[in-house]
Symmetry: C2
Subunit: 550 residues, 2 copies
């Protein structure tokens, strides 16, 4: 068999059976090989950012690596932003990047560039396969690197002749090695710290946000009084009615500081010590309060679930009663929509087993509260901050879980980066309901403009944050890509549209017209309000914080 | 003033007065500074690939560097493909890439990545500005690097605090140094070679495709009998009625080989010795025939026009009569459209002074012939092979030349990579007529699939090249982005649509429904036909080549 066939066979034998593709000439033998390896499902994207984000969403929901097929350095570049998000999500991804034939490189033809330099930005593991006989071995190494833990982005560059030459054989990937457990000393240290009195919190991230770990952490919390915190942008958070509910760290650092205020011990479980998303003039970047001791119970490379279980054992907390999220649904709103009402509508109808890909940014500020008591569901977020992730992640999640309803909750500006996702949703008839919160602006940047102290901004600056002129007609665009689309501007219409969308198979798009979440006056007041928050007594500040970002 | 203000002022003082932007939080002070430097026009894009491609198109038509504002590594990644095209086009581009504040980097926040590694893929010059006092100096260095010649991509990474801190002063960029002239020996060597008998050709690329150089080259051709060749993907080719017309090298290497066959001397002027775009199993990559001597009259870093003038002098050819393209228009076609008729329609109506951004790929195979005798116009092509360039380049060209009609001739698949360009066209009310040749497939890949010898491809492979299922409705998408759009499927409708589009100000989109340029039978026969071409007697092969790709 040729190199491409051996690569595909090796992937399929390792359980990797989906690949998100945007091929070019140098990948034609990979494409041709698809017919001889029918177990591999190739899902075509009309833009590489869709392919990489879909691979991420697929991996988040299937717990198996996501794979992509990309065309040289330019194709990898187009996919880079969502690979960045996958890297930050610690999600296993294997990129197959086609390259010119090895003997063609010396001629520096038009499409040639140094692919490895681009790949390094996101990939822990990068290799250029140099001969056909080695392709299967390279593929096995890529899979092992990607799987981790932690999950990583591995990029295998496949020159066209290495792909088309004969003489390759598939290889069996070895079973994944079990990740290390934390030492008994580490577990004891954490148990002592949590038992020792003083305010403490457990910050859960990565794989610690899945059901078994959440229950273990809740037992620890019940036994010690430690607060359960959830990292600001979870890869995949299992939540809803009946599940232990952590408090998600706020995006705005002043609010996160209130959540962390007064802590003596912070225990990290597959999470980083919290830092500000951006730097702001005169503000601290590192958010752990002075005097707080940080303990890393489990690093991302560790057996995260095992570490939490060991801590439960050390605390004799196996039978502790735990706090579970009570069932609740928001009161169904009526009348003219705004962002808060739209969030309540979603909370009112969210079905059991839903997967939510959340890139709603400012419009979704109240979403966590609106959906907290909904039936159990998964919440996937913008892990790396590179917008344009939500729609592709929904594509991948829907392919991984064809029997579950997927919701892509999108800010208007963010959706445009990878709007071509709609075409793949239509092509594959995925059960995705896309909600575009259309406030006709980069609303988050209006907030950030005020926050970074650039309040003196004039009309030319503000124009850079305005997505009106012309207003984007998402219904037309959705229909243009083959997704039945509808515009709503009342709560009643939105409920009706959501019910119809989830009742019918295939994708649907709902454009929800909402004003920006914050008025200009609120934006101007925000820096001052946040400053005040920092000097208020703790209970008052916490109460305000809960109102601002529940 | 702060760093951002000094940077903008330095750029404006150097004559750089347009910047294509997609900012985020770390660029908010740059955005805020726009109001204090009103000479800088900031053009917002809804996706970074639009911004980088527009900067390229702007630079091609303004002969001044194109500038972008991008958001960290992810934003640069999204813009990378079109920066690759700009690099290959030898077009001067200055990227300003915002980064986290210098003191924030140690915390490895979500959006952080190694920006320089991404930048190096496309940039000859990369620097991270490390202090506010140095920003203006860094900006001057970036401008000098970008201007060249040859034009290059320069990337200046601007940390947020370097941007927002006070204490910067603008700097005056020094005048550009004159590029070196070729030595008298080199000119004599070329003159001797061309006079010495034997078949010879002059291959013009880069800046040698502008009017003065074309006239000089035509005199050399008239004096020596050397054939005038044009590189396969010109950055900016001035052509049409009354101008000297070179023969553009074919994309398909077997056809290019016929054009180069039998040459004894090939003179390069701001061009590379021709190589195959891709490698194909068993085919040569280097297309210069054995026994042909290659002479580089002027490298891209040289005074290209001066070199050609020196050659004219050396040949005493100053007063030679030259061959000019006679005026001609295709016969206006009628009836059901196909790609060839659509090209003839364009040739029939192309107005004087038009700028054509050509990314029509297979559908545009006959475009060069259909437009050869049209009134003088500029032709901009896909210089680096990274598709998704045509629409953004049209955006930039229209901003650089507001009084000239711009045509973006697009393959359906290619247009989708940067379809968000339509929004900027609508926002800025640019005089761009977009023609989408919609054949509902990646037709060029169907050709390449046959060409790379993967003829055994089955249905799953072919599905990867199919853009139907669902058909993209470009009229809906165009309207959705605010561009008045219309579908045509007869020649008469297309003429009417083109006339209306050029008569009204602002952008228009015409979706031209055409079957793929090559039938499946032709695709299967192509490799054999091309093989035969190589063994035919030269005049017969040349005649066939002219029919296949005029």
């Amino acid at each position: 068999m040729n190199g491409a066939q051996a690569l595909l066979r090796t992937m399929v034998d390792a359980g990797i059976t989906a690949c998100f593709t945007n091929p070019g000439t140098s990948e034609m033998h990979f494409v041709a090989a698809l017919d001889s390896v029918p177990e591999m499902r190739a899902v075509l994207a009309a833009f590489e950012g869709v392919a990489t984000g879909a691979a991420d969403g697929y991996a988040r929901m299937s717990d198996s690596p996501g794979a992509t097929l990309l065309h040289l350095g330019a194709g990898l570049g187009n996919g880079l932003a969502n690979l960045h998000n996958a890297r930050r999500a610690k999600v296993p991804i294997i990129n197959i990047v086609g390259d010119h034939a090895t003997y063609h490189r010396q001629y520096d033809a038009q499409l040639q560039s140094d692919i490895e330099t681009v790949a390094r930005n996101v990939s822990t593991w990068v290799r250029t396969s140099s001969e056909t006989e080695a392709v299967a071995r390279d593929t096995v190494d890529a899979i092992q690197a990607a799987v981790g833990p932690p999950g990583q982005v591995a990029t295998l560059i496949l020159p066209a002749d290495v792909s088309w030459n004969e003489g390759a054989q598939p290889l069996q990937a070895p079973p994944h090695a079990a990740p290390p457990s934390p030492s008994a000393e580490k577990v004891d240290e954490v148990a002592r710290a949590l038992r020792g009195g003083g305010r403490s919190a457990i910050l859960l991230g990565g794989r610690a946000l899945r059901e078994p770990s959440l229950f273990a952490a809740a037992r620890v919390s019940a036994a010690t009084g430690a607060k359960l915190l959830v990292e600001v942008f979870p890869t995949r958070l299992e939540r809803g009615r009946g599940l232990p509910a952590g408090e998600r760290l706020a995006y705005i650092p002043e609010l996160a500081a209130v959540q962390l205020d007064g802590l003596k011990h912070l225990v990290l479980v597959d999470a980083k010590a919290p830092v500000s998303f951006f730097a702001y003039p005169g503000k601290r970047s590192y958010l752990v309060p002075g005097g707080c001791e940080v303990h890393e119970l489990a690093a991302p490379s560790d057996d995260v679930g095992g570490a939490l279980e060991a801590l439960v054992d050390a605390l004799d907390a196996q039978t502790m009663g735990i706090a579970r999220q009570p069932p609740s649904r928001p009161t169904v709103p009526t009348g003219r929509l705004n962002a808060e009402k739209a969030c309540d509508v979603i909370g009112a109808v969210l079905p059991e087993g839903a997967i939510v890909s959340d890139e709603s940014l400012t419009s979704g500020v109240t979403l966590p509260a609106s959906t907290a008591g909904a039936p159990p569901h998964d919440w996937l977020t913008l892990t790396g901050g590179a917008i344009g992730q939500g729609l592709p992640v929904a594509v991948g999640a829907a392919l991984a879980c064809p029997d579950r309803p997927v919701f892509a909750l999108e800010a208007d500006g963010s959706s445009l980066y990878t709007i071509q996702s709609l075409w793949t949703m239509a092509r594959e008839q995925l059960n995705v309901t896309v909600v575009i919160f259309n406030n006709r602006s980069y609303a988050i940047l209006n907030m950030e403009l005020a926050r970074v102290g650039a309040q003196t901004a004039g009309p030319r600056a503000k124009e850079q944050l305005d997505l009106g002129r012309p207003d984007v007609d998402f219904v037309a665009i959705g229909n243009g890509f083959g997704v039945p689309s509808r515009r709503v501007d009342t709560a009643e219409e939105m409920i009706d549209a959501l019910r119809r969308a989830t009742a019918e198979p295939g994708p649907h798009l709902i454009e929800a017209l909402v004003p920006p979440m914050f008025t200009p006056l609120q934006l101007r007041a925000m820096p001052h309000a946040l400053r005040v928050l920092g000097i208020l007594p703790r209970p008052l500040a916490a109460a305000i914080k809960r109102r601002l970002s529940p």
